[in-house]
Structure formats: C-alpha cells, structure tokens
Subunit: 446 residues, 2 copies
C-alpha cells in the first residue's frame, strides 16, 4: 500500500523517478535525457507517464530510434497525439512512424482537431456494444475487447451499424441486469453528448452540470468519435485558470511552465503589455504638464498625488479581478451589467468614504502633530479626501464595467488586467485630483 503522504520520503535508492522529477525543471535538456536513461525501467516508466506532452516530445526527439519506439508506444493515442503536436515539425513524421499502424491511424485522426476543443481532448478508445446483443453476450464480448484499448469501461456505448450513438449503459447496469435481456432495453437513450468542435471550457461546464465521469464526442451525423473523461477536465480547468491569472496580472499566456519557458520567450510575453501600459501612462505626463501652474503654486499638492492615484488603482484592481472571475465562472453575464453597476457604485462610495476619512484624519493629525501642511491644511485635507472618494468610486466603476464592455465588443474580458485598469485610472485620477484642488483651493493656495 502506498500512502500518498509518504511517497517522497524514500531517498535510499540511487536515482528514483521522484528524485529526477523534482530536479527536472532546473535541468538542461541534455541532463534530463542522461538522467532518464540512468533510471531502471519501472522508474523510467513512472517518470515518463508523469511528464507532459512537451517533455515527451523533447525526450523522444533526443532518444535513439529503437528506444524512442518503445516509449512512444507506451502512450495512449490522445497523449501520443499531444506529444506529436509538441514535437519539432520536421521530426513529426519520423516519430509518428514509430507507432503501430492502428494507433498511427487513430493519432492522425486526433491531430485534425484543435488542442482546446472536445476532439482534441478525447480518446478514440472506448468500450462499444450492439443494441441487439443479449446482456450475457455483451458481457462476454466486452471480456474479449483487449485490455488496454478501452480507456474507461465505466460506461459502454451502444452503436448502430453506422457508428451512430444510440445509447449508453454503465457496467453496473450490465452486471445487475437479467442476462437474457437485450442491451437495447436496458440502455439509457436520454444521454448527454458533446460535438467534436465544442470548446474545452464549454465541455468542462457540461461535466460540472451533469456529474458524469465520461462524455461521448459525436460528429454532426451523430457518429461517436471518442470519449472525454473527467480527469482530463481537471487539467483543462487548471490550464484555463493559469491563463486567466496571467492575463489579470498583465502577462500574455505563457504556454509553458515558468521555469521551462526560455528567457527570450518570457520577455516577449511580458514586454507587450508593459510597453502598451508605459505608453498609455505617458498621458499622465501630459496631464501633469497641463496642471504645471497649479503644481508650481502649490507644491504641497504633489505630495498626496501617489496616495490618491494608488487608491484608485487598487480599488480598480479589486473590482476588475472580481468581475473577470465571476464572468468566467458564469456568475455574472452581460445582461447583469446594470445590477453590477449599481452594486459597484454602492461599493465604490462605501470604500471611497472609508479611505477619504483615513486620508482626512491623517492630514489633520499630522498638521497638529508636526505642523507640516501650512495654514491651508483644512483646504488641502478637503481636496485630498474629496479626490480619494471620487477616484476610488471611479476606479471601482472602471474596473467593474471594463470587463463587461470588452465582452460586449467580443473581446476577452480578462484583458482588463489589474495593471491596465490602474493605468486608466492614473490618467483620469490626476485630472480629478487637480480639478478638485483648483475648485477647493481657489483664492487660498491657488
């Protein structure tokens, strides 16, 4: 019995799969290959099966052909297809030729699908029956279907002569049914299926709604092409969350793990948004230049400016993060925009009042404690706290409405990243601050 808690403890053996897996991210490609070939066969198999498609491709490209053959044949067809998709284009045919003929045909069929749609997720191997078999016959027939060709046998799919899906029957139903009955009479005909080109996020929603362990994938004629199992969906959900998190942080989707993406690729993924934001933020320079007279007359105003802008940026980051995630989870839809706006105006006023009070208190306190803000401290306090209130309200509104606006325009809501909202709010926040200060302090400081 292996307890999941203790598998990493045993460090006695010379080199275990777990050791190598641990060191993997920081090893060079050559060291990975060398380490892999040092492992005993069982350890090597354990490691190999735990690797992702990109790592499979790299190893197989580097191994001698004879060795590569035995490894690629260890992969089920959906994993083999993912591996080929990640191999150098010039090496793909060579690697595909290492597969046995039947699997190669399956893999070629899978390669026609995009990686992120139902067809790209599915396994072409599943257990199948004809509707006119008796239950006893069906059990015997399933017994003869070779062991490792059916990915899951929890559900068995009932097909007509044209491979059209007629019904689904679970193993438990087959086992508990009268041996003399027809499969047709015990199968479930009110089953759920997904089309080949359904997006993987939509497939994961179908799983969430139905609580099934596997879903059949059918073409427009109702012919079954394969099955998607729920364990693949766990990876989809993680992958999509990573993409969303990166976008919210203002990074383009990395498409690989942090330590494995090369430095030039990493810089490219980050440079795009950083430059756009930097150029956008240049408008603050113009805004500041516009208010240069006010600043020259009342340098004290500049002292509070980072405080005010950051309050707007932070409340905007919060709002955009909340709304983007709620939209991804389907909790907030486009038509809820008015409801969201009302809520965020209430939140913005509440949070703005809170921060404005903190700001007002701080200025008055410092005035009496250190006499730093001159005789117009009350005017300054009013201008600052009024600006905080308005900028926070504005940041909250921009942060919450922007993702909805982007979706309305057919764009990705997650592009309303926290840094993007902060930049928008910086430019407008400056204008709000200096305008309020001009009004409040006219005749005194200004």
């Amino acid at each position: 019995m292996t307890s999941a808690q203790t598998t990493q403890e045993d460090d006695q053996e010379p080199l275990s799969a777990a050791d190598l897996r641990d060191a993997w991210p920081v090893l060079s490609r050559a060291d990975r290959l060398a380490g892999f070939r040092l492992l005993q066969r069982d350890q090597a198999e354990e490691l190999f099966l735990s690797l992702g498609p990109r790592e499979h491709a790299e190893l197989l490209e580097d191994l001698p052909t004879a060795e590569a053959r035995s490894w690629i044949r260890l992969l089920p067809p959906d994993d083999a297809a993912d591996c080929l998709q990640n191999a150098e284009p010039t090496r793909r045919d060579e690697l595909a030729s290492l597969l046995d003929e039947a699997t190669r045909a399956e893999v070629r069929a899978l390669l026609a699908y995009a990686e992120d749609e139902a067809g790209g997720l599915m396994s072409p191997r599943f257990a199948r029956l004809r509707p006119d078999m008796r239950v006893a016959e069906a059990v015997g027939y399933l017994r003869r279907q070779t062991h490792d060709r059916a990915e899951t046998v929890y559900y068995v799919y009932v097909l007509d002569q044209e491979q059209r899906l007629m019904g689904v029957v679970s193993f438990r139903e087959l086992l508990t049914a009268d041996a003399a009955r027809l499969v047709r009479d015990i199968m479930l005909t009110d089953f759920v299926s997904v089309p080949e080109d359904m997006d993987q996020e939509a497939v994961s929603e179908v799983f969430a709604k139905t609580d099934l362990l596997a879903l059949p994938v059918v073409d427009p004629q109702g012919r079954i092409k394969g099955i998607v199992t729920v364990d693949d969906i766990v990876d989809v959900v993680k992958e999509e969350a990573t993409e969303d998190i990166h976008k919210i942080g203002g990074v383009s989707a990395l498409g690989g793990s942090y330590l494995e993406v090369g430095l030039p690729a990493m810089l490219r993924k980050r440079a795009g948004w950083l430059s756009i934001l930097f150029i956008g933020e240049m408008f603050t320079t113009s805004a500041m230049a516009y208010f240069q007279d006010e600043i020259t007359r009342a340098v004290i105003l500049t002292i509070f400016q980072p405080l005010i802008l950051s309050a707007g940026g932070n409340s905007g980051s919060q709002a955009t993060t909340l709304i983007i995630r709620a939209m991804v989870l389907g909790e907030v839809r486009l038509r809820d925009w008015f409801h969201v706006m009302r809520r965020e105006i209430a939140s913005g006023v509440g949070l703005g009042l809170m921060l404005a009070t903190l700001g007002f208190g701080r200025i008055v306190l410092w005035h009496f404690a250190f006499h730093v803000y001159g005789s117009h401290y009350l005017g300054v306090a009013i201008a600052v706290s009024g600006s905080v209130l308005l900028v926070v309200l504005w940041g909250t509104l921009v942060g919450s409405m922007l993702p909805l606006l982007l979706r309305r325009l057919g764009l990705d809501p997650a592009s309303a990243s926290a840094p993007f909202v902060a930049t928008l709010v910086d430019v407008s926040g400056l204008i709000i601050y200096f305008s309020i200060a001009s009004i409040v302090l006219r005749g005194t400081l200004l």
Copy 2:
C-alpha cells in the same frame, strides 16, 4: 438524446429549470422559492440537483417541513452534509431530523470533517467486497448492493473484518476474471489512498499524479471511511483558483459567488486590504515631503513621477502573478529561489532597458517637437530613463522574491498581491527617482 449545445434553446414550456437557473442570481430569496415551487417535479429536481450547498440550505429552510423532507432526501450524504454546514446553525438539527436514520448517521460522521479536507469531500457510500469471495459470488453480491447507495462502482474496495482496506479491484477486472478465482487473488494491493485530514489541494495533486477516477480515504488505522471521486476535484480546482485570483487582485476570499454575497460582506472583504494598502501608501507622502526642496526647484521632475512609479508597479504585478501561480502549480519551489532571482534580474534588466529607451525617446522627441522640457532636457531624460530602468528592475525583483519570502515565513505566497507589490514599489520607487535625479541634475536643475 440531449445535445449539450441545445439544452438552453427550448423556451416553449411555461417555466423550465433552465429559465429559473438563468434568472437565479438576480432573484430575491422569496422569488427563488416561489419560482421553485412553480416548477413541475422533474424540472424542479433538475434545478435542485444543479444548485450549490448554500442554495440548498436556503430553499430547505424556506420550504414547509413536509416538502423539505422529500427534497433533502434527494441529496447524497456528502451533499446533504454540505447543505447542513451552510444552513443557519439554529435550523441544522431540524433539517437533519428530516433525513432517514441511516443517512443521518452518515451525515453526522461527515460533519466532523472540515469542508476543505479529504474527509469533507468524500462520500461514505462505495461498493465493498470481502477478500475470500469467489469472483462469481462477488458479482452476485454487488448485484444485491442497492442501486443508489454506492456512489461509483468503477472501483470496488476489498475490506477485512475490521474495515481495513486490503485492495482495490475494478469492475472490468471482476468481469474479465475467471469466475472461480478469489477476489484476494485478482485485487490490486499496491493502491493509493489518502488520509482523512489531507488538504483538498493535496488530494487534487494525488489525482493529477495518478489519473484515477476515485481515491479511498482511510483513517490512521487503515480503515476505509469513504471515497473521493475526481468530479469533486474539478470543483476544488475551480474554487482554489478563484481564491488565488481574488487574493492576487487584493480581495480576501469571498466565500460565495459575486452576485450572491451581500453588500456588507463584500465591503468587508475589500475594505481590509484597501485600508492596509492606503496606509502603506501614506509613506509616499512622507517620501515626497522629504524631497519637497528638490520638487520646488524642479517642478518638471513631478511630471514624470506617475510614469516611473507605474512602470515599477506593472512589472512587479507581472512578476508576482507569474511566481504565485507557478508556486501553486508546483513549478517553482522554495529551493528554486536563486534560479528565479537570476531569471528575474535578467528579465528586469531587459524590460527596464526597453521601457527606459521608450521614455528617453519620448522626452527627446517632445523636446524637439514642442520645446517643453527646457534647456536641461537631456539631464531630465537621463534621470527619467535611469530611474525607469532601476525601478523596473526593483519592481521585478520585489514581485518575484516576495511570494517566496512569504512561503519561507510560513505565510500564503498569494498575499503578495499585485496591489501590495505596486504599493511597496511606489514608496521605494519615489526614493530611487529623486535620488537619481539629485545626482544627475546636481549643478544644473537642482
């Protein structure tokens, strides 16, 4: 046959489960109850089973006792336990009393576990066998185990007299094995199990590593307490991603969907971080006050200050988002800190040089185009672009090292939220900028 694509299309019927589910988030609690009671039984069942534990609890609290009984009995024991956990504490006993006696005992046992550990995720219902049964006997025995009491029958668990887990056998193995063999001889004894108190994130990692559809949960004596199925893990992964995304955006975990969390609770979740950040950002006010002399002599310096600070904040947000997610996915561990630091120094220098060049170009261009920055434009351009380089490098370093430092201190790395890093970088960025400006412009502007 129900195609998942078309289930939402049929709007003919007076009120369908799908209609009500769609309107659900924006309905008041009273309207939800009224709508639910308008549905026909089959539609109501579909809706009820698609709801979450909080919604189950609200409905059951509001329904008359006789109706509530039939609904709570529709729930499997793990869902019933989650529902009770979400009910008003004063109503829990009353709702529990509606369950049949056997389920009530199971539910009480489940309520002893925290919601986010293996025990809180598991179902106490699973198919079980004795090791000394023959395969034929075992199949007959499983046939007699009532239909809806075993959550999954893909795996069958083999227990000794003390309920200790001895092995696992899949239905396919039972079906394909010789009927005269003993269960003991065909069962897998090298199985993976998880302890009752294992955190749900760790459980999800075990699923990811093993590709199993269900895992047995055992107590310290090796007795099986229930099973966790992989479809529950999809929800865990989503929930954890939502929590991380909220934290990265500077919001405490909401613990509910956006539109369903009340406004006061929503404000509380957001106010905490916003106030801390606001108070932290007040140090910028002190920093600015410290450099007030320089500012008075060279107001032009303030013009570029939001640009420089935001460049640091944005690069810090990117870095912290990347590292937090990579740590959650296990791609980056504490011991990788030096590797990460080297990478981020390289990234920071690269990105900083790029933005510094953009900034330098902009100042020189504007000087020749609009003659706005006076005769010392070159000094200003050098001070600004030098500051951008250093602030971006600093932001990248702070953003990447802070999550690792927090983990080292035993804190949650995701607390290094994008707004938190931006605030840290604002304060230090100001000091960097004005210090560089003092050095570069000494004798000219300053």
